[in-house]
Structure formats: structure tokens, C-alpha cells
Amino acid sequence: MTKHSKLLLVGLAVVVIAGLIIIPMNFNRYGLYILSQWAVMTIAAMGLNLTLGYAGQVSLAQGAFVGIGAYGAAILTTHGWPLIAALGLVIVLCFIVGWLLGYPALRVQHHYLAFVTLAFSTLMFLVFRNESWLTNGIYGISNIPRPEILGFPTRKPLPFYYLCLGSLALVTLAMWWLIRSPWGRAFIALRENPIRAQSLGIDTRRYTLMAFAIGSVLGGIAGVLYAPLTQYVDPVPFNLQLSLDLLMMVIVGGAGFMMGPFLGAMIAVLLPEWLRVAEGYYLMLYAVAVILLLIYSPTGILGILDRYLSSRRTQAASALRAAAQSKLEAAQ
């Protein structure tokens, strides 16, 4: 990347972040709710982007981990635990469950792996619905308190939105660190060519399990924020639909791109709101938009940008080669 384009990117990031902080100050309760939901879903989609987009392991269970996180937070905070303690417990729990869910991926891949994770997703839904002693079944858990962060209450929508946005920023930083570390390179190697990766000393088993575990933890973190956001959890939001929605966010945004989940979640959470004017047709328009996008760019929205940049790079390289060639000929 050139210095110029790097500067441009940093500038753009600053503008977007400032926008995300300042503009919502004028939003009403509902607008802030939607925007908070976008932040929460982005965190969950980032987790799936790690498992699927970077490490290449299909999972239809991300929604279940959001559910585990949400129920964990709901149960513990309604019993007087602080949210931060619930977060710690959920992280440990999701890491362990995610690690275990990774084991089938060592045996089966692609569609078969999708079915294994789908079964897990269904299993978790049944736990949320049927184990009433723990989850209160179909009645759900209500009156989930919103936390105080460093003495600041987040009961009102704006402070809670800032909590979600801050969490998203922290998760993004952690993810950025992870992806540019040697682990990120190993995850990509695992996706692109596991046999070659092994021959280079990469312990593909451990990295596969790690990709599931870390991806699941991010699902859990999203859930921990989801519970105080809606202040009520019941099993319905965590059925298979959520896992499919998260999968769509990752693919539409651009799997394997750091910023993919941001765009994907924006389309999944915000677009339906903007299409409300179309009333009954909005779901149809939404579906058609997604189909057209994926026909035009199977690698998602960021795939379009990536293709543009790499074609420019190729052009620059061939111009350079042509220049070198003519210089060589002149010298001869």
C-alpha cells in the first residue's frame, strides 16, 4: 500500500468513527436501538469471519453462541452478578464449547461440517427452550439490568449505544492484532491449502480448534451485549435463522476481509429499516439485492474493491515491465 492511500484510509476511518460518535446524539430511541444492534451483530459476524472467512471452516452455529452469551448474561445479571463477571464466564464457556465444536472439523469439511454445526445450533435452541429451570423456557428472562461502566449508568439508549460501540472498537483492535500476527497468516494457510500448511510445520489441528474457539468467543461477547440491549431474552432470536443471518452478513460483506462484517451487518440490520418505505415488498427487494450482489461479486462487497485494487496493481506492474523492457532494448 502506498503512503498516500494509507493516509486516505486513516482519514476515512477517523471520519467514520467521528460520525458514529457524533451523529447518533440526535437519534431517537429506536434509531439508537438499531445502531446498537448493528454494533452487536458486527461483533458476532467478526467471530464467524475468523472461523469461516480466514480459517475456512464453515459454521452454522454462530447464532447459538450469541444465545449462550445472551442467556449467560441474562441469568447472571438478574441474579445480581455484574455484567463484566458474566462476560468473563461467557468467554471461558464459549471458548471451551467452541474448541469442542472444532473437533468435528478435523474429520469433516464443507457441507458435512455445516450439518454438524447446524445440529449443534438446533441442540442449543432446544436447551434454551426446554430447560426451563435454567432459561425460563418460552417465557424468557425479562428485566435484564443495564450495567454501570466506571460509575456511568448505561440505562439510557445513548450511553448504552456508546458501550456497544466501545466494545466493537476493542474487539476490532483485538481482531486486527490477531489477523496481522503469525496466527492470521496460519489461519489463511489453513483455508487455502491445509496439506501444504502442514508440510510447513503449521499444526493445522490446533489452529482449526483455535479458529472455532476464538470465533465462538466473539459470538458470546455479542450475546453478552445483546441481553442488556433488548433487556429481555427468549429462545426465538437464537434459532437457526440467526446463524444463517450471520453467515449472510459475512458473505455479503466479504468473507476474509477485516471490514467485511461491518458492511455485512450494516446491510442485514440497517437495510431492512431503510427499505421500510417499500412496505410489503421490502423482504423481496432485500432478497433480490443480495442475489444480484452475489452474482456480480461472489466475494462480497469488499471483493469488488479488492478486484478493482488488484487490477490497478496489475496495470501498474505491466506498465513498469514495459518501461523496463524498452530501457533494456535501448541499452542493447
Binding site: W183, I195, R196
Partner: protein, 247 residues
Amino acid sequence: MTAVLDVRDVKKSFGGITAVDGVSFDVQEGEILGLIGPNGCGKSTLFNCILGQLVPSAGEVRVDGKLVTGQRPAELNRLGVSRTFQLLQVFPKLSVRDNLILAGQEHRGSMLSRLFGPSDAGLTTTADQMIGFFKLEHLANEPAGGLSYGQQKLLDAAMAFMGGPRLVLLDEPAGGVNPTMLGDLKDRLIAINRERRATFVVIEHNMEFVMSLCSRVMVMAEGKVLAIGKPDEIRANPAVIEAYLGH
């Protein structure tokens, strides 16, 4: 002196077919052993048995005297055994430099130290030296997928050396490479062999390449060792001529 690679009576059967049928040989430090034979004679299966991609049905493989039969490829690689594949195996989305860093990073520190350490695992200098050595400087930041076939083949070979291996098994390094680049590749391999005392086993169909590169050549036919000796002896061996080289 212990052989770098010692293979004893290795057998591999798939159902009723015996692909490798009791092969024994050793390779001394600094040697370049060529492995030739007609298609389907078991060369690649033998490689996969040595490298842990396949578990031999019988026999033993030792590296520096240490029994490694059936160890996983990643463990073997960290013990200093490296390889290239018959078909190109670079990571197309990663840059040339990142391909090389990836090829060396698991040889440094623990998994945890790699997570919290520098993003290049401290390998940028080593990678750039390797890039210079294989004359790929102008392509260091290009995605590997954008390189020509011959350049990718060079990168593929370079990756095998990033971990500082004791033993490298190269499966048809010359396949599909144009004659100019082939000379380059041979020079590089000979240089690495001399400078780093790296030991090679090379599967190859290009006779000229094998005979000029290797200090000894082993010929396989139908899963067995037909002959092993210096290139000249192999050229003159009637059984080899009969089975493989042709009249």
C-alpha cells in the same frame, strides 16, 4: 556417521495393490539423492510415507537416527524435514514475502509467543535474504498468485528452505519450468546444498537435471529399488536401461 535419512523395508499397500514394496536406502549429510522411475512406480508414495502424509504398512523411517515413522507432517517439519510438492503449492493470496514468513514462522517460539510477538515473527530479514537468493526481489510484495509458473516454482522451493531444514524432499522441482529458469533453480539448489549442508532427495523426470544435480541416483520400478549408484553407473546399468531409460 548416522545417515540424515534412513529408510528400512518400507512397505505401503492400498487394498490389494502394493505401491511401495520393501524399500531401503539411506542418505548421508550433504548428499543430493535423485529418485527416478517410471510413472506409478511408487516414488511419490514413498515420499508421502517418509513425510508422514501416509503411514507405512511396514518398515521404519529414521531422521538423524531418530525413529519418525508415522509422525505427523507438521511435527516432522519442525524436526527439520521439509518438502515441495509435485503440483504447485504456494499461497496465492499472500505476498511472496508473507509466503516465506509463513514457511518459517512455526519454527520460532511457541504458539503463544507468536501471537503476542511481532507480526513478522522476526523473519522479514531472513525472508528478504531468501527472496534475494532466488532473485525474486522485484516481486516481494506481489501476491504469489500473480507470479508466472516458473517464478511460483522458485518461490515454492524457497519456502522449503525457510525453516533451515536438515533434509528437503523435492517432488519434481523441474516440472513445467522453462530451460533458463531451470538452470537458475539448479544453481540455487547446489548453492544451498553446499552453503548450508542441506541434504536433498529429488524426484525428477528430467534426466539431464537429475544426472547433473545429484551425487547418487536411485531407480525404482514397481515399488522396489532397481538400482542405486552414481549417475554414470546408473546410466550404464542394463536393468535400468531396460526398465526406464530406454535404448
